[in-house]
Symmetry: C2
C-alpha cells in the first residue's frame, strides 16, 4: 500500500506528515472554544462543524458528539465508531471525491490556529520501559553492574503521574521550584530546578474501559492511538524526593503531548516486535504479535532567538515493553482503566550516544555537555529554550507523521514572601 491521494494537494507532497493514510485527530481553538479536526496536508478538516451542519453522522442516533471541543466522547464509542469515521473521512477526502467543493469550505490552515487538548486526560501513567534508558540512568546512579533493578526484566515498571499537569504542545512550561539538596549539604534548599530536563516518549490513548484484568491482545484493542509526549523532569528535585515512594513533584510541572493523536489504524503497516527477551516473561505479558511500531523520532532544541539543533534521533522500536504490555500489567491488580487514560511509554533511548531521549543521558548527568549549532552548550535546559519532538513512520512513498510537540521553558515565577527562608 502506497500513498493514498487526496484532493487536498498538500497531503500528497513528498514528506508530508499528514497524507490521507494518516488522518490524526486534534482539536483547535475556534470561536472562543475548540473544535475537533483531522489533519490533512497543511490543513485541518473541521469535523465539529461538519457534524453540526449535518454533513457527517459520527454516532448514528446519538446526536452531535463533538460539541465539547475534544474527541473524548467519540473515542468512548469504541472501535466500530472509530472505523466508521475513518472510512467516511477517507472517502470524503480522497482524490475524486464528489464532495470536494463543499468540504473545501471546512478546511482551516494549520498555520492559522492554535491547537488545544485533543482528549480529556483521565489519568496519566508513566512507564520506565526503555532498556537503554533504564541502563543509562542505572549506570549513572548505581554503576554498570547494578544498572537494571532486579525487577526490571520481569515487570514493566510504571508509576502514576499527574493528569492535571498534562498540556498540549505549544504551551509554555515554567521552570519549577522545589526542594533540592546539594551533595555537600545536610539540609535541602527551596530553589528553582537547576537540572530541568525533557523526556522523549510516546503516549498511548486508552480508548475503551476495563474492569478486571485484560490480556495483551485485549489491551492492544483498547488503545485508540498514540501521541508524542514530553515528560518534563526536574532531576535535582527528583534525586532528593524519590525515595522511597517514587517521583512526585519532579514530574508534576508539566507533561506535553503532541497535538495529533495518530490512530492505531494508521500505524498498522509499521508494527514491529519487541526485542528478544533477556528473561522469560510471565504468561500474562506474552504478546500475540508485534506490538511496537517503527516510528523514527527526533528531539531538537532551539535556544531563545536561535536556530534549532537536533540533539537526538531514535526509534520507538527500541522499547523493551509495548504499550499493550504496559496496559495489561496496569490491570493486573483489578485497577479500572478509563477512556482518556494516557500511558507514557517511558523515555525512548537507542543504543547510540546520540540516540538518548533525555539531557540527563545525552550530557551523562551533566558531565558531557551537548553542543548546539551556534556553539552554545547544554547540560540541562535553560530559560528560553524551546524543545521540539518529532516523529514519523516512513511508508512506501508516504509517511505517517505525528507533527511536532513543542514547549518553551519560562523562568521560575517570583518567590512569594511566605516561601522565603
Amino acid at each position: 500500500m502506497g500513498l493514498e491521494r487526496s484532493w487536498v494537494e498538500s497531503a500528497n507532497a513528498p514528506g508530508a506528515d499528514f497524507p490521507l493514510n494518516n488522518l490524526p485527530l486534534g482539536a483547535f481553538a475556534a470561536g472562543g472554544g475548540a473544535h475537533c479536526g483531522v489533519a490533512i496536508g497543511d490543513s485541518i478538516l473541521d469535523v465539529t462543524r461538519l457534524e453540526a451542519d449535518g454533513r457527517i453522522e459520527i454516532a448514528p442516533g446519538a446526536g452531535a458528539i463533538l460539541g465539547e471541543g475534544d474527541w473524548t466522547a467519540f473515542i468512548a464509542r469504541g472501535p466500530g465508531t472509530w472505523a466508521r469515521l475513518r472510512a467516511a473521512l477517507t472517502e470524503m477526502l480522497a482524490e475524486g471525491s464528489e464532495d470536494a467543493d463543499i468540504l473545501a469550505a471546512y478546511l482551516v490552515a494549520q498555520a492559522d490556529v492554535a491547537m488545544a487538548m485533543p482528549v480529556r486526560v483521565s489519568e496519566f501513567t508513566d512507564f520506565y520501559a526503555g532498556r537503554h534508558h533504564a541502563t543509562n540512568v542505572g549506570t549513572m546512579f548505581r554503576g554498570p553492574e547494578n544498572a537494571l533493578p532486579a525487577n526490571w526484566l520481569s515487570i514493566p515498571i510504571g508509576y502514576n503521574g499527574r493528569a492535571s499537569s498534562v498540556v498540549v504542545s505549544g504551551t509554555d512550561v515554567t521552570r519549577p521550584r522545589g526542594q533540592v539538596k546539594d551533595a555537600d549539604a545536610d539540609l535541602p534548599r527551596f530553589a528553582p530546578s537547576a537540572r530541568f530536563d525533557f523526556e522523549l516518549e510516546l503516549g498511548a490513548i486508552v480508548g475503551q474501559p476495563s474492569d478486571g484484568m485484560v490480556s495483551v491482545a485485549e489491551a492492544d484493542e483498547m488503545i485508540f492511538g498514540y501521541v508524542l509526549l514530553n515528560d518534563w523532569s526536574a532531576r535535582d528535585i527528583q534525586a532528593w524526593e524519590y525515595q522511597p515512594l517514587g517521583p512526585f513533584q519532579s514530574k508534576a510541572t508539566a507533561t506535553s503531548i503532541g497535538p495529533w493523536i495518530v490512530p492505531k489504524a494508521a500505524l498498522e503497516p509499521f508494527r514491529v516486535a519487541t526485542p528478544e527477551r533477556a528473561r522469560a516473561l510471565l504468561a500474562y505479558l506474552h504478546e500475540p504479535g508485534p506490538m511496537l511500531y517503527d516510528i523514527a523520532l527526533e528531539v531538537a532544541l532551539a535556544p531563545a532567538g536561535g536556530r534549532e539543533t537536533v540533539i537526538a534521533r531514535t526509534n520507538y522500536r527500541e522499547m523493551y515493553y509495548s504499550s499493550a504490555q504496559q496496559l495489561a500489567h496496569h490491570t493486573t491488580s483489578g485497577c479500572p482503566m478509563r477512556v482518556g487514560d494516557l500511558i507514557g511509554s517511558g523515555t525512548i533511548s537507542g543504543p547510540e550516544p546520540d540516540a538518548r531521549g533525555s539531557l540527563l543521558e545525552l550530557s551523562w548527568g551533566g558531565a558531557s555537555p551537548v553542543t548546539l549549532e551556534a556553539g552554545e552548550t547544554r547540560r540541562f535546559l535553560e530559560d528560553g529554550d524551546t524543545l521540539i519532538l518529532r516523529g514519523a513512520a516512513e511508508g512506501d512513498g508516504y509517511r505517517i507523521g505525528f507533527g511536532s510537540c513543542t514547549g518553551t521553558v519560562r523562568p521560575a515565577r517570583e518567590l512569594p514572601d511566605w516561601a522565603k527562608d
Copy 2:
C-alpha cells in the same frame, strides 16, 4: 459550644455521629441514580429533592446544581456557597424550626439506602506523613538506625495514586493478583496477594483549584472537608515492584472512602497543632496555626460470619504533616490542583503497639499475628474479612462522627487461561 439541638430527635442522642453540629455531605442511591444528602441523626436529608422542589436555593442564579447525584458542582462553587448552605441547613434542621413538618418528608433512613460516591474524585494523591508509621515500616525494612529516609523530616513524602480505583464504603474489594517474588526464588510468580492489608487514613477533599504555588494557609482554605480512607495495599506485590519508582499495582486494587465528607467547618473546634519539628522545615511549609484535628480513630476486623474485633485505636493528631502542608507541597512544582482531588493523609499510627494503622505494623510483618475475639489470628487479611474504620471528634456533649468506612475482601477472580504460566 455544646450540642446544637435538632428537631430530628436521633441527632440529639448521646454518642450520635451526626448531630446538627456536623452536617456531613454524602450521596445515596435513589431512583436508579443517586441523590445528595446531609446526615442528621440516623437519617439523611435529601438535598437534591429539596433543591428540585425549590425549597432551597444553593447557588442563586445557577439553577439546580445537585442533579448529577454528587456534591462536586456544589463544592466547586467555593467557601461562600459552603457557608451559605451550612447556615441554611442549620436553620432548617434546628429545634423549633417552622419548616420541620415539611422537611420531615425529605428525610430518608440511613438504614434503608446504599451510599454512593459523594464526590467525583479527580485525582488521588497518597502521602506517607505519619512518623510512627514511617518509623515502623522503616525499622522492619532497614533497621531502627535507618528507619526514616533522609528526606522524611523535610518533605511530606507523597505519590500519585489511582483515582479510578477509589470506591465508596460498602464496596467489596477483590483480592488482587500480581507479581510476587519469594525470598528464596530468583524469579517472580503471578499469584493472588498473600499479604493483603489495609491502611487507616483520613482523606482531604480539595474544594478549590490552584494554579501555581500556594501557602499552607491558602491550602487549608482550599480544603472542603475530610473523609475516612482505607488504602488497601498488597504488601508482597509492593515489595517486588516498588523500586525504583514507587508503589503502583500494589495500591491500585481499591481505595475505600467513607460515605460522609465532614466539612472543615464542623471540625474547627477540634484543631490541634502538628508535633514539635525534629528538624526545622523550609518556610513554604510553615503553618500559620493548628492544622491537624483531634479525631479519635479505630479499626475493626470482622471475619466472615463472625463478630468484629477492634484491632487498633489511634488519633489523627498523631500525623507529622497536616493535609494543608501536603497540599502546599503538592503545588510547589506548579502542579495544578482541581476540585475533587483526594489527598490521603498517609497511615495514621500512634506510638503504642495497638495504635498501628495497618496489619503490616500490627503483626510486625507477619511475625506477631493479631488475635481476634473468637481466637482466630491474622497476619494479613483473609477472604471474607470485613474491615471497618470509624472516627469521631469528641466535643462537649456532642461528637462529630465520620460514620464508618467498610469493605469486605472477596477471593481473587479466577485466573484466565492466557495468564496461566
